[in-house]
Symmetry: C2
Subunit: 676 residues, 2 copies
Amino acid sequence: MEELATEKEAEESHRQDSVSLLTFILLLTLTILTIWLFKHRRVRFLHETGLAMIYGLIVGVILRYGTPATSGRDKSLSCTQEDRAFSTLLVNVSGKFFEYTLKGEISPGKLNSVEQNDMLRKVTFDPEVFFNILLPPIIFHAGYSLKKRHFFRNLGSILAYAFLGTAVSCFIIGNLMYGVVKLMKIVGQLSDKFYYTDCLFFGAIISATDPVTVLAIFNELHADVDLYALLFGESVLNDAVAIVLSSSIVAYQPAGLNTHAFDAAAFFKSVGIFLGIFSGSFTMGSVTGVVTALISFLTKFTKLHCFPLLETALFFLMSWSTFLLAEACGFTGVVAVLFCGITQAHYTYNNLSVESRSRTKQLFEVLHFLAENFIFSYMGLALFTFQKHVFSPIFIIGAFVAIFLGRAAHIYPLSFFLNLGRRHKIGWNFQHMMMFSGLRGAMAFALAIRDTASYARQMMFTTTLLIVFFTVWIIGGGTTPMLSWLNIRVGVEEPSEEDQNEHRWQYFRVGVDPDQDPPPNNDSFQVLQGDGPDSVGGNRTKQESAWIFRLWYSFDHNYLKPTLTHSGPPLTTTLPSWCGLLARCLTSPQVYDNQEPLREEDSDFILTEGDLTLTYGDSTVTANGSSGSHTASTSLEGGRRTKSSAEEMLERDLGMGDQKVSSRGTPLVFPLQENA
Amino acid sequence: MEELATEKEAEESHRQDSVSLLTFILLLTLTILTIWLFKHRRVRFLHETGLAMIYGLIVGVILRYGTPATSGRDKSLSCTQEDRAFSTLLVNVSGKFFEYTLKGEISPGKLNSVEQNDMLRKVTFDPEVFFNILLPPIIFHAGYSLKKRHFFRNLGSILAYAFLGTAVSCFIIGNLMYGVVKLMKIVGQLSDKFYYTDCLFFGAIISATDPVTVLAIFNELHADVDLYALLFGESVLNDAVAIVLSSSIVAYQPAGLNTHAFDAAAFFKSVGIFLGIFSGSFTMGSVTGVVTALISFLTKFTKLHCFPLLETALFFLMSWSTFLLAEACGFTGVVAVLFCGITQAHYTYNNLSVESRSRTKQLFEVLHFLAENFIFSYMGLALFTFQKHVFSPIFIIGAFVAIFLGRAAHIYPLSFFLNLGRRHKIGWNFQHMMMFSGLRGAMAFALAIRDTASYARQMMFTTTLLIVFFTVWIIGGGTTPMLSWLNIRVGVEEPSEEDQNEHRWQYFRVGVDPDQDPPPNNDSFQVLQGDGPDSVGGNRTKQESAWIFRLWYSFDHNYLKPTLTHSGPPLTTTLPSWCGLLARCLTSPQVYDNQEPLREEDSDFILTEGDLTLTYGDSTVTANGSSGSHTASTSLEGGRRTKSSAEEMLERDLGMGDQKVSSRGTPLVFPLQENA
């Protein structure tokens, strides 16, 4: 009979598992149906993620107050002779041995209230699920769908926002929160320990912005592409920085007894850990991406791209293995998978068959969509079903103020310094919009839920949850009014990055070089440049920062692309003659009789600066512009001068037809809406 | 420090998790790359699943003998005052409370050997993963990709093979194995209990055939479509029957003390459970499929099929929720998801946008592919890493003999009886091929690994594993020689069910009615009919068995299809006039001005039998053939006579062009290869 009882219990548990999973799936289904309706009616004030949270919230309330509390079936054992918990426990029950695994520590205060409701317990997932299963597709998709042209054009600014900005934001929020915690201690609202490192940790997790709502609206309204690139690029790299930052803060372990004071050695160790983990993950992600490209390149030789299913499966597995490999080596999988996505979009994508391209894109789109909405509906649910909330009004209000100030201290000064070096200033309206778009989302939540063992972490988790709710609903709803209030142009005809548009896309790039060639009707461009005064002395900075990218670009174009993909110049022409044999082995036969245009999204790097040397075919084209020009007007002249030869080169490069060449005299202009 | 130790341990555990998952992903990657090579070289003797097993086996050996055994970190506790194990345990370690969850029982004999190697433990998955995550996409894909035309044409035979055949096979194998167990008891090879119900359980799990290898080769060689339909249909339904059968056997609990003797009441209760679970799961799956169709139908009204991502996500979620809903209600999710797949292929598929159709197909293709290869590589791994193997040579040899006899006793007699009723006999070569194709695969493995607590179950698991290995490798490799040895025609030009071929497909169906209209060059058709003598008296049986399907078909065509999809006749014409309002509400406006052809794969049901009444448009076409014909020749005549009007109807139905109509006078013939 006792066997039967255990079996019944296991069956009941299985059924509850199914019900809890079913709850989430029905939530997602409901969300999808409602979004469907919203898209039909063109409702923009509520994004699907906000909706998922609302539905989650409703179901959370029902589960919390609508389901009966079951009597605790737990058995309490004492094991006082040991000084720590074991991960596995063997329990001898009347001669039978049962194996138990450690689930977590329970604070003594929660001991009575814990596990009173089976259903509430069932809908609480292992936080590792978020990290290992739900985040990777979201992050990979972000890297894979990065619009490379605009991203690379603004790379310097994006890197500055992501690295410096996140660090600044983290420290400001951390310090402000430390002040808040001290205040709470005085008032007597703090019932347990809350160290300075905890505050910094909070600063790190809450610095991960996730403007998914804003970007969705940008996409729909075709808002300014540069602002889109800045926001998207920042938020993508931001997540990577925040996750590595938080783990370096956790690793901050000063020596000696005074474990929570400042210690220079430990601090520099933490900085070292940050750099080590970040660069390690970056390298790993890029290398795996390149390996995938190489594999798909080699398989293309064997004409096996006739099996798109295999290609897609391989692509999926390689991407996931990047994540796991990084985690297994102690690096950060999320960072690795992000750079893997970027690399794969750059190289591997070109090697895939047309069918595989759309398959992989669609596959990751669906996975990304499901994972994202799942996380947001889980957040809604967690507000009521999570059992260890610590609501502290002072901390929550302090956190809202701190994230506002942290965001302001990060956007405005950085934009000021960046504007010194940028030819296209980031205008005030752009800065306000970036300030406004500081939503918190999936990454902040995943980082907060990862460890909710201590009192401080529980308070952080609750606060993070509320910040996510607030920002997603309020900011998400306010994006459209904000856009029109800030006079940010919408309706920009952005050619999609689909294959069929590639030609038009490239033509557009060749015809206009926005960085150097403001079109005649200059006033429509004024909006892009914002209200900031034209800084003249910044060209040198810009050129210097671009120098390394130019070097990288030509290396990539001449050596990496031909090796890893079937585009670009044959290696036999770019490599020195003594590498002839190697070059012939590595060069794909398709490159030689290649009518296929070079699929290069960021070739305007070369055109931007007037100094370049490129080899193509048999001839070497050397275009020397006025590289030393100091004023904007001369550099503009220099740009015009070099264009003749540079364009000639690109023209052959892209395999463009006559009709396009003939119309190139009149540069294309963005079809703009009228701005007040 | 103690906190730190726990954290380190958790980190180590997380790393090992990553490594173990990485192992599987690399295994799959390796498998894909090798298959790629094999497909290139047209190697057919080893299927991808066989390959996955071999790689799994190699990695298993490495893990088993190549990794160091770690010292057990387990803590043994005594809890003798209780009589059963609790699912959750709270342990008080020096004042701190830790929560533990029950993992499973460990038999006392295994106590010392267990958990000696962390890595081996890590690569051992929770069996529920197979059931809840890996099986559903495989089964759903099977249902979704069922070639409906041939499946329905052979439905009677398929149902007979699946239900009667599996039951027969289960009982024969169970009884034979009981004999083997008795023999083992005499010889003294049996060290623990092994009941008759255990033997029957083994019979049930090992009766689930999975001819994935054979079907892959059939697909590649374009082997006979009817044989394909018989084998595929049998194996799909087979799985459903086996899973329900095994759970009814587990539920067989005779009252009283003598718990393992035969008890009529308990037996009939088990039969009742079988019928209840099966019909419940069937109903649930079909209903969810219809609900999905309805939702996608309604959303089509709002023109929201412009969002294929949402459509695909919805489709995916609804299919998975079917599985979970069935499990939550105590039914069998696998069976529900199978019928959900069939229903969705029939109705929902037609409502999806063209892009969503290919998206959903591709999504499930990838999921199915990954899940299947994962299971097979896990099998290879499990042979060496599973810690509780019980190898019993007598049992294993007995099992091989039993499955051979069980398969023979199921195929040959059933085929004999079916041939009495079939117009197209299942020839000896077909019967031999079906006998030969009795591979065991994923389902048998998943059922066997679900419960490996007792000695008997462990022995079954080991035996099942070996049977899967043997059948997949030997039979998989022997399929091509067997096909040619049995003179089964290959290279049949089977039009794919893709959209672009649909017209050709329908034309083909209308032009030739293979059931009634053997084409002039009759000898090439002889092969299809096998060597069996033409039985004349079987027509009545055939017609009677088809009667219910005819009824169902016309109901489906007249009422369900127009309600759930945008094809078929408008409801306003098929429903009685007093339902006018309802009919007008339910009918899609697209149906009226519908130039879209009826996407109907099994419309030859109507043409097959000469007795039908169909309404379409404003006119009512009543085609009364010689329904009472008793000999093949008259029914053939009747078929010809009715065709004129029936064809006329279908012609309009399908919206076929003039060119096709004009050439319809000469019926299309299968482009056959010469057979000896």
